[in-house]
């Protein structure tokens, strides 16, 4: 028997407690000193003996209770050696089949299956076999069996996928598995042994737990492979990069489709890299599915399609709450956001009296050019908006200077100010360049500040910019699920020259991206990557894979944190914060069919075989099938608990004493 969490066995020490308590109980029984027992006579009713027995039973139950509790937490495993293959002098033969994208090369996988079958059949009669497949991880395809036919039958269901295989990762995974198997372990690796799959360090290819590596090379010859290497968006359209791997030229036809409709076609003859430009794309609003397809006579077809998302999103409206629609702050902020190269935002100035706070839920974030103008009602609405996940970028302008506290954030305002007592100018003293809203900005130290609204930062506020007199100039505060970014100065161009400094534009654009949360989401992934659903703005949702199947079960739609993107194509993601599409393509390294050099492979084989002498390694029993016992122990624990409660209740009867 083994334990999954043996440290919990330390809990057994707790059985000292009932022993101690019962000892006290025994000592405090009706035992009284008497001058002499000479004239005494033992009563017929041996109450104390009965009581002692009851105490002993209770003690036993309590000790059993604690023992069981410790055992349940320690998670014991019962192993039954009889249910497993007997000791095998020929050890274990692992048949590992490469199912990475490159193995879908024409005819290669059939060769691989045949090689794997031969490896199974040629294994020693006393050996136990296990069939595995490998792409970006190791997958067990059959149990550890002595029966060759059972292992061979499992070959039928294995198909190559679109994922990448790294030989270093495979060896590391096999090494952990082999430690639990009957020794010696012989690894039959059926693969095309791509050079691009080799790790940087040769040492990563060596496993101490594997006694011998038998490589079964498939897909020999001079391969040629076309691949769509890149899709780059340009102002007029897209540039498609195509690469032909091989030592000779071949013809291919490029077909470009947008949202399922073919919009362009080119024929090329090349042996290297070719970039074809497609202009005049008529995109729809939102995410557009762009697919490049190669019609070519090459050896690997899985990389002849490449998928891309072209975003054609109209600028998102950002409400700018102001007192004066024609004021300088509106001009500065509008101009800054219009200069965003992605043209993602459009400022909508709204005069404070006309703004309908019920519309706040339509926006991801809100601008206020002077937080001092916010009324009590609007403050409540903005606070609720931020608390529910909205964001606010606010400036503390001249109207804020007369207030006692900053609305929404609640920061108190001190009466003193930078330039209030003298006409000095201050510069920025400290900038948190690690913050996403400031990491792409430069030139803060050229900003001159003559006056600020002196804000007291709260304990949980993050001061992003401080002036040289250590006063906070930019504060970020988290409220509920949202955040408030507050600049301790206005945009009237009177208290500081920030609006006319170049840094203002980059600050506003980066802050807009940060507050809108768009910079965290990429829409193009490599096959095998994981898509974090929580970073897309919502907690889970539903995902449709390229074949049109739901990726998440009904239960997972509410709790899944991420999904693995294993198929090339378009995944449709539906979350509570919106819908979008992501494109998934095979790893381009799988397109390079160049096999590893013979010398390197031979060195690998030697290194693996030289780890230990297979004949010298003693045979061990096959890792037995383990049964977790904690369920049964939990049941017994419940029964003991009931018994202990009932018996303990009997002792609760009041004791009469002399």
């Amino acid at each position: 028997m083994t334990f999954l969490a043996p440290l919990f066995l330390l809990g057994i020490v707790a059985i000292a407690l009932p022993f101690w308590l019962h000892r006290l109980q025994t000592q405090s029984s009706d035992r009284k000193p008497f001058s002499s027992a000479m004239l005494l006579e033992t009563t017929e009713q041996r109450v104390h003996v009965r009581k002692k027995l009851k105490y002993l039973l209770l003690l036993t139950l309590r000790v059993a209770l604690l023992l069981l509790l410790a055992l349940v937490f320690a998670k014991p495993l019962w192993t039954d050696p009889e249910s497993l293959p007997a000791t095998t002098p020929d050890g274990t033969h692992l048949i590992l089949l490469d199912t990475s994208a490159s193995m879908s090369r024409s005819g290669v996988f059939d060769q691989a299956v045949a090689q794997a079958r031969r490896a199974i059949e040629s294994a020693p009669s006393g050996a136990v076999l296990q069939l595995l497949s490998a792409d970006d991880g190791i997958h067990v395809k059959s149990e550890l069996v002595s029966d060759r036919s059972a292992a061979g039958a499992s070959l039928a269901g294995i198909r190559p996928g679109a994922l990448r295989l790294d030989y270093g990762d495979v060896v590391a995974a096999i090494d952990r598995l082999a430690e639990t198997l009957p020794q010696p372990v012989t690894l039959h690796f059926v693969s095309d042994f791509q050079d691009s799959g080799m790790p940087v360090r040769f040492a990563d290819l060596v496993s101490p737990a594997i006694s011998a590596l038998v490589p079964h090379i498939v897909g020999s010859g001079e391969p040629f492979n076309w691949t769509v290497e890149t899709i780059r968006e340009t102002a007029a359209g897209v540039d498609v990069g195509v690469f032909g791997f091989g030592h000779f030229e071949r013809a291919a036809n490029i077909e470009l489709s947008l949202n399922g409709a073919i919009i362009g076609e080119r024929g090329i003859i090349s042996g290297g890299q070719t970039i074809e430009r497609f202009d005049g794309l008529q995109m729809l609003g939102g995410d557009n599915r762009l697919e490049v397809r190669l019609e070519a006579d090459d050896d690997l077809s899985v990389d002849n399609r490449r998928f891309h998302i072209l975003e054609n999103v109209p600028p998102a409206p950002i409400p700018l709450i102001t007192l004066n629609r024609d004021g300088l702050p509106v001009t500065y902020l509008s101009a800054a956001l219009q200069s965003d190269p992605d043209n993602a935002y459009r400022v909508e100035p709204m005069v404070i009296g006309e703004f309908d706070s019920r519309t706040l839920s339509r926006y991801r974030w809100v601008l206020v050019d002077d937080i001092g103008i916010v009324s009590v009602e609007l403050e409540a609405a903005l606070t609720e908006f931020v608390r529910n996940g909205g964001n606010l970028l606010a400036f503390a302008g001249m109207r804020s200077a007369t207030a006692e506290r900053i609305p929404v954030s609640g920061n108190t305002i001190r009466p003193a100010s930078v330039g209030a007592v003298s006409n000095q100018f201050l510069s920025v003293g400290q900038v948190d360049t690690g913050h996403p809203a400031l990491s792409g900005t430069e030139g803060w130290f050229s900003v001159n500040v003559s006056q600020t609204v002196p804000i007291d930062a709260q304990s949980d506020d993050q001061v992003l910019i401080r002036l040289e007199n250590d006063e906070p100039f930019l504060i970020e505060q988290r409220i509920g699920q949202g955040r408030v970014m507050l600049v301790a100065g206005g945009l009237e161009n009177q208290w500081n020259d920030l609006p006319i400094r170049p840094v203002f534009v980059s600050f506003i654009v980066e802050s807009a991206r940060y507050l809108a949360g768009v910079d965290r989401l990429s829409k193009t992934f490599v096959a095998g990557a994981t898509l974090p659903l929580t970073m897309t703005g919502g907690s889970s949702g539903q995902v449709i894979d390229p074949d049109g199947n739901n990726v998440l079960s009904l239960a997972d739609t509410a709790r899944a944190q991420q999904i693995k993107l294993s198929k090339p194509g378009f995944y449709e993601v539906y979350t509570t914060q919106g819908d979008y599409i992501v494109a998934v393509n095979p790893d381009s390294r799988e397109s390079i069919l160049q096999p590893v050099a013979d010398a390197t492979l031979q060195r690998w084989v030697t290194a693996m075989g030289g780890q230990s002498d297979a004949a010298a390694i003693p045979s061990f029993d096959v890792e037995p099938e383990s049964v977790e016992l904690w369920h049964a122990l939990l049941l017994i624990l419940a029964l003991v608990l009931v018994a202990e409660s009932l018996l303990g209740n009997l002792h609760l009867t009041p004791r009469t004493t002399n």
Partner: protein
């Protein structure tokens, strides 16, 4: 109140003085210190009582005798076994026995009697030979005071030792709870009586031993043997007092059979009764 006094000498003095004041009012006992006669000086007599005038006139050493002065020996045998530690508050049986022994010693000393003491349990723990010398009383009181209740009880050893030491007839006061086999006890007492010693057995018992009160079954542990006996309240209420009375009666009868006296003393009683018994014995001997 006396129980709270630490000084045994003071306790004994207080008890005896109080007792004597009571006696003087009673003509029945006629105890006094009035001169009675002269007798020849014998070894062991206190030299303070030698009449030097007679010696000057007649060249003979005589000592004065007073009324009630018998020049007898009093030997106190104090049981300090573990069972004597039972009882109280305010005093255990042993402490009460110590008061009693000290009072007897003090009273005897006032009568110019030689007083000795032996503290015993399974062995003889301490022994002071009888003497009427002035400083001897303090030695006897110290011997009594230093007794501690421990181990079991065996009467044969102290009686054997006492028989070896004693040379003169006198009073022997055995102070114990007498939790023992009476036949065996009297195997030691009987030779003393045959030697001519006047033996008085002071049996000291606590009221919890005479009339124990228990409302439920209780496990009683023998202080000497450690034996635990589970007893029912009915037994302690009915049968046990009967057994105790029977034991006391047997002891009393056995004592009477050899001419010894048996006095039952409860720790809740005053010491006067015991002192009266002593005087009666002393009177009888004289």
């Amino acid at each position: 109140m006396l129980a709270h006094l630490k000084n045994l000498d003071l306790v004994a003095r207080s008890v005896v003085e109080g007792f004597l004041i009571g006696l003087h009012r009673s003509p029945k006992f006629g105890f006094s210190q009035e001169f009675a006669e002269y007798r020849s000086y014998a070894e062991g007599d206190d030299p303070r009582f030698i009449d030097w005038n007679v010696y000057a006139r007649s060249d003979r050493m005589v000592v004065k005798r007073f009324l009630g002065d018998t020049n007898s020996h009093l030997m106190l045998l104090l049981d300090a076994s573990a069972s004597m530690g039972f009882g109280g508050p305010p005093v255990s049986k042993l402490r009460y026995a110590q008061f009693l022994a000290a009072s007897l010693a003090f009273l005897a000393s006032r009568q110019h009697d030689a007083v000795g003491c032996m503290v015993f349990d399974e062995e003889v723990r301490d022994y002071r030979a009888p003497s009427s010398r002035s400083g001897k009383l303090q030695s006897v009181l110290h011997c009594i005071d230093s007794a501690e209740a421990r181990t079991g009880t065996k009467f044969d050893k102290p009686f054997d030792k006492f028989r070896e030491q004693i040379t003169r007839r006198g009073l022997v006061a055995v102070i114990s709870d007498f939790y023992c086999d009476i036949d065996k006890l009297f195997e030691g007492v009987r030779p003393l009586a045959w030697q001519g010693q006047d033996v008085v057995l002071f049996q000291v018992l606590d009221s919890q031993e005479l009339n124990p009160e228990f409302r439920s079954n209780v496990l009683l542990e023998d202080l000497e043997t450690g034996e635990a006996v589970e007893v029912a309240p009915q037994f302690m209420r009915d049968a046990y007092p009967e057994r105790m009375r029977s034991h006391i009666d047997s002891l009393s009868a056995a004592a009477a059979g050899i001419g010894a006296d048996h006095v039952l003393v409860k720790t809740s009683d005053s010491l006067d009764q015991a002192l009266r018994n002593y005087l009666l014995f002393r009177q009888r001997r004289s």
